[in-house]
Amino acid sequence: MQKNSQRTLADGTRISDLINLETREVAMRTLSDPELYELEMERIFAKTWVFLGHETEIPKSGDFMVRDLGSDSVLVTRDKDGINVSLNVCPHRGMKISTLDCGNTQAHVCIYHGWAFKPNGDFIGAPVEKESMHGKLLTKEQLGLKKARVTIYGGLIFATWNIDGPSFDEFLGDAKWYFDTLWCRTDKGMEVLGPPQRFTIRANWKTACEQSASDGFHVLTLHRWLSEVGPYRKPGSEGGGGDLTPEMYGSEVYTAHAHTMRCIELDRKIRRLTGKDPSELSVKEKLEALPPPGVTQEMIPELLRNLSEDQLKVITWRPPQVGNFFPNGLFEFVYIPTPDGVIGVMALHAYVPKGPDKLEFVNWILAEKDTPPELKATMLRLGVQLLGTSGMVEQDDSDTWPHQTIAAKGAVSKHITLKYQAMYETGKPEGWPGPGDVGDGFTKDDTQWRWWQYWHELMTAES
């Protein structure tokens, strides 16, 4: 793991000294240090694949949207050949090319000196062609926007500046087997229900992102209202009220590149819905009793066709419900009990770094394209009420992360450590068919610790 322990900060601290790999502790200073932040932008956000949005946000040729790839603004565009991602900065004098959030154009023209670019980033030309405003030293081919490498996976747009680096599949690694059960389960795939919510939190991006790596424990306390008056208040037959502990059992998956997930057990819900012992039900019967979020009875044959027997076993037993894409993506595929039955909510977040003490929370709400319109509307309402800007769940998170960030500046507190010492001791649950490292039972810290292990690996890597 410690490839280059010589990497040091200006005060002489080695980056590898910020993490104790044996005792699973991280120096609090990492949650606010400006020097580390600059290094993270280079060594993490300019190196890994980063989630930028969904292809259904820009359905037509010429559609574009402006997003952030780490600390850089990028143009995400569609042309007849597909999706492109280019630096949203003019190679002439560094003006931001598009100052809008989205639109449609076949020529992105810089308002400063008029240089124009195709949706794919190629240089079209500068004004007064015959006077060669762009000079003769460089060819037009050399004057395009800087282009990122792009992958579309299950409709999700990922990009990286690491042109010769690992493929997207290599980056996902063992997580792909699970993610396919979410993003690639139906024939038509998913769509966003609108543009994302965006809001600013005065907190370091890692406060949100280390939590996104499947922190189960925080739900018990920070989101306790869910069981006090919210949707997870248990029925009287199960003891009623107050305790979120039953929601904390299942499997937790953590993979080499720190993509993790909590696979929360459905048995109680299925027993409640069917009155039967889930172990006596077939995969098909369980899917019909409790279809995954956004899936209807009509779509179940697609799942049976598109997923393997092993994948079907997992999604009807302990499906991935919350988890992360390293470095800064989070997904939620949650089953919300309501008076009208269990309603699924699907959301994606990006926690965009905006300096050592600020992040932008971007929240997309999704449904399957084939989800009936009425159900889409219900999923959207419930998503807005629980998640994102005003979400009754996530407003508690947004108030926590700033305090951690401030605390990380204290002369004393910056040296105390974040601890990830609750460890699985059992290995994979019996009969678990999926890959990766898997813990069984009550939630633990292994997923978040994996997040920090990979952070450390990238921050101390040779190049």
């Binding site: 809008l100 966003v192 609108g194 600013t200 939190i201 006090e228 807005v384 005003s390 108030d399």
Partner: protein, 189 residues
């Protein structure tokens, strides 16, 4: 079809000819309503505020987009929004704060001032309903932070007279910011 299901019911137009004169008795009554409402919310009298809502309430806050001047009408997004509430979900938001010990996003609560201005009142084609436009500037102070979060917005309300009293039946909040500058909308606007 989908768009219609995702978006809230459109508001009636603001017709100049139907505007109530500033200072007229009905106008003053509505101004009182808005001031009283602000006072209730500023002082965490949330259950009391809940009694001002009609059971068919629609309460929403569109997203904003930065678009060109020519596309100004496309700067409001009403599919995914920051808030899209019904009477039931609004009562749940209140209950979360009043009936639990763990509504941490607002516990301890923000110190908030809701400054209401630029109030215009229109009669609608329903005899018992008024359309009310107001500017709202919210200042929000959290913890010992030395800055205020500012939340400027325009509100489009439908107030309905029920058994003599005014109730809030519809509110649309148009926020100025594309990227909301306060960490959550855990307060009522």
């Amino acid at each position: 079809m989908l768009q219609n299901l995702l978006e809230p019911t459109p508001l009636p137009p603001s017709v100049r000819a139907n505007r109530l004169a500033i200072g007229s008795p009905e106008y003053n009554e509505i101004l009182d309503f808005l001031y009283d409402e602000a006072e209730m919310l500023d002082n965490l009298r949330l259950a009391e505020w809940g009694e001002l809502l009609t059971q068919d309430l629609e309460y929403n806050a569109p997203l904003r987009h930065t678009r060109s001047t020519a596309q100004f009408d496309q700067t409001y997004i009403r599919t995914v929004q920051h808030l899209h509430e019904s009477y039931g979900s609004m009562l749940m938001r209140i209950k979360r704060i009043t009936d639990t010990k763990s509504a941490w996003g607002e516990d301890p609560p923000s110190r908030v001032k809701r400054m209401v201005s630029n109030v215009r009142v229109y009669k609608t084609d329903k005899a018992d309903e008024y359309k009310v436009e107001s500017y709202l500037l919210v200042t929000r102070s959290r913890f010992d932070f030395d800055y205020f979060d500012l939340i400027p917005c325009v509100r489009y309300d439908i107030l309905r007279r029920i058994e003599g009293s005014l109730k809030l039946a519809r509110r649309e909040i148009l926020l100025d910011q594309v990227v909301i500058g306060t960490p959550n909308l855990g307060i009522i606007l």
